[in-house]
């Protein structure tokens, strides 16, 4: 199991397209993935779960992964967040 902090630095935060990319990334690995923010814990493979976090720019989230590919999934999701979901700002 891995747990690591994520900070959202893209201007729009965890908006719909960003949430969709995160879910697609999480779903590409053989593991469970969870996101925690503001006292809520949601399945990172569920787009509605991730969207309902409504996490804006600057939010600190915690990503938890567990399963055969938990490290790979955590690396890929962290990388996606670090490069602001491919957005310019």
């Amino acid at each position: 199991m891995t747990r690591r902090p994520l900070q959202l630095t893209n201007r729009l935060g965890l908006h719909a397209r960003a949430a969709s990319k995160l879910v697609q990334t999480a779903s590409g690995f053989d593991c469970q993935a969870w996101l925690e923010y503001n006292g809520r814990r949601v399945n990172a493979r569920s787009i509605m779960g991730v969207l309902l976090l409504a996490a804006p720019c600057g939010s600190e989230l915690v990503l938890e992964t567990s399963g055969a590919q938990d490290e790979e999934a955590a690396d890929a999701i962290a990388e996606l967040v670090e490069r602001r979901f491919g957005e310019d700002q």
Partner: protein
């Protein structure tokens, strides 16, 4: 895999499909049927039966409509019930995103997901 058919007032189904494709970043395989208030019910029923049959995948077909009791829903229900196809009303973006995410499930299970997703999107903050 289940075939998805959106039956809505005029262009609402295409508009929702367009936004879902934008969010997901890919095209979505589904069929939309636009029903206008000028539509002739019998010709619409004929079209709906044909579309529902053509859309069936290994898991069957699921029909989503916008407003229960309105003509698009009533016609879709009449066409679907003959073949035991599930119909869920109250189409919104959360419902469609949920359905697309679980489209590999059979139609009856997917109908449950549609209800769940549609309701998940109604939040008061």
């Amino acid at each position: 895999m289940t075939g998805i058919v959106l039956v809505t007032h005029d262009g609402l189904g295409e508009a929702i499909r367009h936004e879902a494709e934008h969010i997901l970043g890919r095209t979505i395989n589904l069929t939309t049927v636009a029903i206008s208030y000028r539509t002739d019910p019998e010709s619409s029923l004929h079209e709906l039966r044909a579309v529902m049959a053509a859309s069936a995948d290994t898991g069957g077909t699921l029909v989503l409509t916008d407003l229960p009791g309105a003509t698009p829903h009533n016609l879709a229900y009449r066409a679907a019930v003959e073949s035991g196809i599930p119909v869920v009303s109250g189409l919104n973006l959360p419902m469609l995103l949920k359905v697309i995410n679980h489209v590999d499930e059979p139609a009856d299970e997917l109908a449950g997901r549609a209800c769940e997703g549609g309701q998940q999107g109604v939040v008061r903050r």
